[in-house]
Amino acid sequence: MLGFIKKDLLMIKSNIKILAILLIIYVVMAFQGQMDLSFLLPFISVMIMMSTFSYDSYNKWDAYVISLPDGRKNSVKAKYLSTIILIIITTIIITILSFTISYAKTNMIDFENIVGTIFGSLFATVLLQSFIYPTIYKFGPEKARIVLMTIIFCIAIIGGFIIQYVDFSPIIKILNFIETYWIIVFLIAMVVILYISYKISEKIYDKKQM
């Protein structure tokens, strides 16, 4: 298992220079107040992991990996674990940078606001990746982009319709409850969503003809 995780992490490492440059640009923009760093979390982690899928697909790694011991069993699991490691690392970096920028600009750290925003971004990241991965395993990274754009477009239209005609008062009550325990609720939700996504991806991969 460790070998398969290492493979993804080494692929990420080989793109580290580009990532560092991107990060510097965003930090400068954040200093100037042009953007919030927390938005980087979903953007960077999705972008990095998508690129690993593209390289895998281009070199037919998914077929090659099956010729290795426990390759079929561990390949999908390793991708999810690498994602979790990447999300943890990027969250730590962005949290530290956000604190530093906040302190440098205002001489104080707006702890509650920063943690809240980063947690929101973290949730969005997990949600996005949990949705993207099974799509990639099913359609491949190239087709998955088109499928994803179509789905997002449909969600936007349906969402717009729902906002206009649905009564949201029961949902607001639930959100008020969540406000008290939001960290626990979000953490559990993230784990459950990611696990369901993993199981779906595993099933798709297991049945896939290479």
């Binding site: 070998g3 493979k7 390289y55 099956i66 010729s67």
Partner: protein
């Protein structure tokens, strides 16, 4: 003799192609060359052996173990080179070492780096910067650095220049010095197989049409070259296939000595695998 690979009645159906009752037996300590034209079913057979292709029927055993039940045990003991399938090209040979030592129990980093040096492969350059030949050598080095007992190689010498091909063939021959080890390799470059293979198995349109020892094929089989008049005197039962060219008939016979005794035709040559392939596929009966 113990068999290292046994394929029995392998069938696999695609929309436009089908493997039909493929049977292969590779004894321990031997090299089997697997030949056939593009799309004949070589890669599909290899994919089924490795469990990459699914939904096939039949039985596949490696080291006497069922490939579906004992997957991990089998894969610890095989080395694989697949046509156009490998590590993502942004990784380096060094990266491959740190990945593989966490995948194979018997991964031998020392041996791997020795092979890299022997083949003049760089340690720290991304795979994408390597030439096609260097990349192929890296794939082979990666396949043999965990002391496998069986190598399964799909077109391992494709894209290599004659010098590199000779190096690789030497490597295969030194691998086979250990009598516990075997090689199953598909190749278009039939001259390579004439040098190394103990057995030749020929697949055409999803069917195994021939599987014999190299001696049987290259010593017994023959190619008869004759005129139209001579051809018309030959009984159809005495040849396998024939091909008509502008000036002569080329006839594939199973036993050139027996044919020579029966017919008064002087030009009977030993056959090369390339001629055999062409006559078997393009010849008529």
């Amino acid at each position: 003799m113990e068999n290292i690979l046994e394929v029995k009645n392998l069938c696999k159906k695609y929309k436009e192609f089908e493997l039909k009752n493929v049977n292969i037996i590779l004894p321990k300590g031997m090299i089997m060359g697997f030949i056939g034209e593009n799309g004949a079913g070589k890669t599909t057979t290899i994919k089924a052996i490795l469990g990459i292709a699914r939904d096939y029927t039949g039985e596949i055993k490696l080291f006497g173990l069922d490939n579906r039940k004992d997957d991990k045990k089998i894969k610890e003991n095989i080395g694989v080179v697949l046509d156009d399938m490998f590590f993502p090209e942004i990784l380096t040979p060094n990266d491959i070492n740190s990945i593989m030592k966490n995948i194979y129990k018997n991964w031998d980093s020392k041996l791997y780096f020795k092979y890299l040096t022997d083949f003049a492969l760089p340690n720290n350059k991304a795979i994408k910067t390597l030439s096609k030949g260097m990349r192929k050598k890296l794939e082979i080095v990666t396949a043999i650095s965990h002391h496998p007992q069986l190598l399964i190689l799909d077109e391992p010498t494709a894209g290599l220049d004659p010098v590199a091909r000779s190096e690789v063939i030497d490597l295969f021959q030194s691998f086979i010095q250990n009598e516990e080890c075997s090689i199953f390799l598909s190749s278009h470059i039939t001259t390579d197989l004439e040098h190394v293979a103990d057995y030749i198995t020929f697949i055409n349109n999803g069917n195994i049409i021939l599987s014999k020892t190299r001696e049987e094929l290259l010593e017994d089989y023959g190619i008869v070259k004759c005129s139209k008049e001579e051809f018309e005197k030959i009984n159809k039962k005495d040849f396998i296939k024939y091909k008509k060219s502008k000036y002569e008939y080329e006839i594939l016979v199973e036993n050139r000595k027996a044919f020579n005794k029966k017919y008064d035709i002087d030009t009977i040559d030993k056959i090369t695998l390339e001629e055999l392939m062409v006559l078997m596929i393009r010849g008529e009966k």
